[in-house]
């Protein structure tokens, strides 16, 4: 079912992004993949952070939410727990996700809730006019500070199951990764983390730089993306060489967070009929605990 065709509500607006912004590529990949996988807009909830990136939900025609700065992961986790029938897509910028949201990223990696998380990495705070983000190499204030590599971070947390990196200048691969991510999340296999290199033409135009740095690991037959340790070693080596690996860099099997909750009586709290008679009985049982 095509989401937009059946809508009784808003018409997705034109992006507010600057011409040439990488974020267009991210939006295209997401729309392409939703269509390719026949994912209905009304069953999809796109939650976005604050930033230029954090407007993507407005352009998709799905249910959309604009989180507070840095909080999109816990919010999306709440959605995934409360209604597992939804396809949950969290999205945001590198500032949103790695700076103010860094703590939640850590814990979301650890929990592995079934949802997609797209980070549009441009190494700057686009919306606030170009300050260094945690992925900026040689930040102005403390040039020796190392840029954060979120895939490496994800590899260090043993609950992760899907760690990928795409580049808006590699749209075919990006589409593929996006579809894989959606499938991973929808199969309730856990968090599909997809960092997308998405240059900010206005404040940090890294198209040529990144074009020279990226290396496609999907194309490398010797690379075993199910081996966490090897993935880490490879990634560290490439960093040393000034290269950035692209592809589905790690894929693991670990029960998802939601699967821990969705068992026994708990299926989808959002859909529970709380007025049902058996629920009344359960409440009376609780009351009975207090009878002395």
């Amino acid at each position: 079912m095509n989401a937009i065709a059946t809508t009784k509500t808003y018409t997705p607006s034109q992006p507010i992004w600057c011409a040439g912004c990488g974020h267009y590529g991210v939006k295209n990949a997401l729309q392409y993949s939703m269509q390719a996988l026949d994912i209905a807009g009304h069953e999809t909830f796109v939650l976005a952070g604050i930033g230029c990136s954090g407007t993507i939900q407005n352009y998709i025609g799905a249910y959309g939410y604009h989180a507070m700065h840095g909080r999109v992961l816990p919010t999306a986790t709440g959605v995934a727990l409360a209604n597992p029938h939804l396809t949950v897509i969290a999205a945001g910028g590198d500032g949103d996700g790695y700076a103010i949201g860094g703590g939640h990223l850590l814990h979301t990696f650890k929990r592995n809730p079934s949802m997609v998380y797209i980070v549009m990495n441009n190494a700057v705070y686009g919306l606030t006019k170009g300050q260094d983000s945690p992925t900026m190499p040689e930040p102005t204030a403390a040039p020796e500070e190392q840029a954060l590599d979120a895939i490496q971070l994800g590899l260090s947390i043993r609950g992760t199951t899907f760690l990928a990196r795409g580049f808006t200048s590699r749209p075919a691969q990006l589409n593929r990764l996006m579809m894989q991510a959606l499938e991973h999340a929808r199969a309730k296999r856990g968090l599909a983390f997809l960092e997308i290199l998405s240059p900010c033409v206005t404040y940090n135009d890294t198209y040529p730089l990144w074009d020279a740095m990226v290396i496609d690991k999907d194309a490398d037959e010797n690379y075993d993306n199910t081996n966490r340790a090897q993935a880490m070693v490879t990634s560290l080596e490439l960093s040393e060489q000034g290269r950035i690996p692209l592809g589905l860099l790690y894929r693991g099997d670990h029960p998802s967070y939601d699967s821990a909750f969705h068992r026994n009586a708990v299926t989808a709290p959002a859909l529970e009929d709380v007025k049902a008679p058996q629920q009344q009985q359960l409440l009376r049982d609780i009351l009975a605990e207090y009878k002395r």
Binding site: M1, T6, T7, K8, T9, Y10, S13, A40, G41, H42, E43, T44, F45, T55, Q57, N58, G61, Y63, G64, Y65, H66, A67, M68, R71, P74, T75, A76, T77, G78, V79, A80, L81, A82, N83, H85, L86, G103, H104, L106, H107, F261, N264, A265, V266, T267, P269, A270, E272, V274, K275, Q279, Q280, L282, L283, R284, I286, L287, Y290, K291, R292
Partner: protein, 597 residues
């Protein structure tokens, strides 16, 4: 095991048995001492006597081993507070004696281990009966476990308060019904040991210090405020909770973690308070009735997100189990000092409501009401709890069946199918926009904390902005008739009014009673909606030339709220206590009289 018992303990010279209808028993020691067990046994005893109970603790720190005093008041009348003094103090260590002995009534009883501590000088009336008993020595020597000292102590205590042995044994059986037969046996033997001591001292079944009445009081439960609030939430269909441990709110998380899954719900321990409230926000947006909670420092961390709920129109119940601030403050001490934050915290203006229960029964009702109001008005509803979080009280058995579950303007897929057009933030007279949750075909919508148009699209144009602000404000007006009015009682021809919040209810009532005895008549008024300040409260502030506002904080936060809403400053007298301990009846009487002179 009879050695010590056979020692001829010097008989004491006990006065004649006194019949009382109101008693405070305090058991104090290190946290690990099991003082809780004795209190639990006493609770059984007094509960079955049909007395109203009030049970609270005074603990210095939450670490096991810190000093803790637990107080149990039993009375034929409802009290809802402690009394001025303890009638009985059982102290397990030096600190217990040092801290608590001065609070024993002149005609009270102190039971302690004199080998461990000296009684402080000059603070205990010579009329106090002092019983020294080497609890742990007995327990360890006789029963090989320090733990059993609790039942030794209970044995002695049962003779002090005049509890017939069978009743006491019944309590032990009830308390330890999940223990092995052997352990139960040991506990019963320890109890016997206590009785033998008592006998040796001259405290017999026939000659106790006190005798307590019995009254019929069926259909009661004993519950603390946190449990009751959580229960009210669940009863009104609440099925999602996210929190982070913090004293004294942790119990809500615990209670719901244990019980929500049975009901098809989920409780989550998040990595911090920001995560907690945002997980809650995520859940709430799917339509499940959701709550989060914390104490002051955690609520402070949640402020940005609370404003977001107000802006984005997300229904959320937020319980603040207040404790003494500022900052980390005194986590185990009571205060009512987050009111200002709840009413005015976070950036910008958004609709919010603060409800404040005054006893566990109201916690249940307000827990349920808040859940409904949040759903109806799609906005944050605060519950401001205070010492109630750390207090258990008897209450009339809750009526879970009568709790209504109201959905407000939540739309089903069928509803949406009937509609030609759906706007998430439709501007309506009530301010409330029909609400379709994700999953419903055709109703896709955008939820945001930026200013937006009716579709949820971010816009900044001026008339839209104004209309959206006005719409959100109207929601409070729409639910205003549903907001609980104040409880008002006392002399209705009085010329003095007294306003209080939450836990002060009980002590104010006791103060009222005492004042009446000396010919001072007051009218008491306890708002259950703190914000917005309702008209009944404003009318009350105008009705009397002298209206006391009694609160547990330093700056008079509630006074400011009242005045901010237009209450006449010249009528109001502010009484504030902010040392971390609740008013005792005599303190409140004195404070009121001091201002009246």
């Amino acid at each position: 095991m009879n050695e010590i018992a056979k020692v001829n303990y010097p008989p004491l010279d006990f006065p004649a048995t006194r019949a009382i209808d109101d008693i405070v028993i305090t058991v104090a020691g290190q946290g690990g001492d099991g003082t809780q067990t004795i209190i639990a046994l006493l609770t059984h005893a007094l509960f079955h006597r049909g007395l109203h109970l009030y049970n609270t603790s005074n603990i210095a720190s939450r670490i096991k081993g810190g000093h803790a005093a637990t107080m149990l008041r039993g009375s034929t009348k409802w009290r809802g507070c402690l009394n001025d003094r303890f009638d009985v103090l059982m102290a397990f260590d030096t600190e217990a004696i040092e801290k608590s002995a001065r609070w024993v009534a002149d005609d009270g009883v102190i039971i302690y281990d004199e080998s461990r501590a000296k009684l402080p000088e000059g603070v205990i009336a010579p009329t106090v009966t002092v019983i020294s008993i080497p609890f742990s020595r007995i327990a360890v020597r006789e029963l090989r476990r320090d733990l059993f000292k609790n039942c030794v102590g209970f044995g002695l205590l049962s003779r002090v308060i005049g509890l017939p042995d069978e009743e006491a044994i019944g309590c032990i059986q009830q308390q330890f019904k999940r223990l092995s037969a052997q352990d139960l046996e040991y506990n019963l033997r320890a109890f016997q040991q206590g009785l033998e001591f008592a006998d040796a001292m001259g405290l017999t079944a026939a000659h106790s210090v006190y005798s307590l009445p019995s009254q019929k009081n069926e259909n009661r439960l004993l519950i603390n405020g946190n449990e009751a609030t959580a229960f009210g939430f669940a009863a009104a269909g609440g099925r999602f909770f996210a929190g982070y441990p913090i004293t004294p709110a942790t119990e809500i998380l615990d209670w719901l973690t244990k019980r929500l899954p049975r009901l098809g719900g989920i409780a989550v321990q998040a990595e911090d308070e920001m995560a907690a409230i945002n997980i809650a926000i995520g859940a709430a947006m799917t339509g499940v009735r959701t709550m989060t909670g914390s104490s002051g420092p955690g609520i402070a961390l949640m402020q940005e997100s609370v404003g977001h709920c107000g802006s984005a129109e997300i229904p959320l119940v937020i319980v603040d189990c207040q404790r003494a601030g500022p900052s980390t403050g005194m986590p185990t001490k009571i205060e009512q000092s987050d009111i200002g934050m709840l009413a005015h915290g976070s950036n910008g203006d958004f609709p919010r409501v603060i409800l404040a229960p005054g006893n566990p029964e109201e916690c249940f009702q307000i827990g349920a009401l808040a859940t409904n109001l949040a759903a109806i008005a799609q906005m944050p509803i605060y519950i401001a709890q205070d010492g109630l979080s750390q207090t258990s009280e008897t209450a009339t058995m809750f009526d879970v069946d009568s709790v209504q579950i109201e959905y407000g303007e939540k739309l089903s897929a069928d509803d949406v199918a009937q509609m030609k057009e759906y706007r998430r933030y439709a501007i309506t007279d009530s301010g409330i926009s029909p609400w379709a949750v994700p999953g419903i075909p055709g109703a896709m919508n955008l939820v945001t904390g930026n200013e937006r148009n009716e579709w949820g699209q971010v816009v900044t144009d001026l008339p839209n902005r104004q209309a959206m602000m006005d719409k959100r404000r109207r929601k409070v007006e729409t639910i205003r008739p549903r907001l609980p009015l104040a409880k008002e009682w006392g002399d209705d021809s009085a010329i003095i009014g007294v306003i209080c919040m939450g836990m002060i209810s009980g002590v104010l009532d006791e103060a009222r009673e005492r004042l009446e005895k000396i010919g001072v008549f007051i009218r008491c008024h306890r708002p259950r909606t703190l914000f917005p300040v309702l008209d009944d409260t404003l009318a009350f502030t105008r009705r009397y030339k002298t209206v006391f506002v009694v609160e547990h904080n330093e700056s008079g936060q509630f006074l400011h709220l009242l005045q901010g809403a237009g209450a006449p400053a010249e009528n109001l007298i502010s009484l504030r206590k902010y040392d971390g301990a609740p008013y005792l009846p005599f303190q409140l009487v004195e404070a009121l009289l001091a201002e009246l002179e």
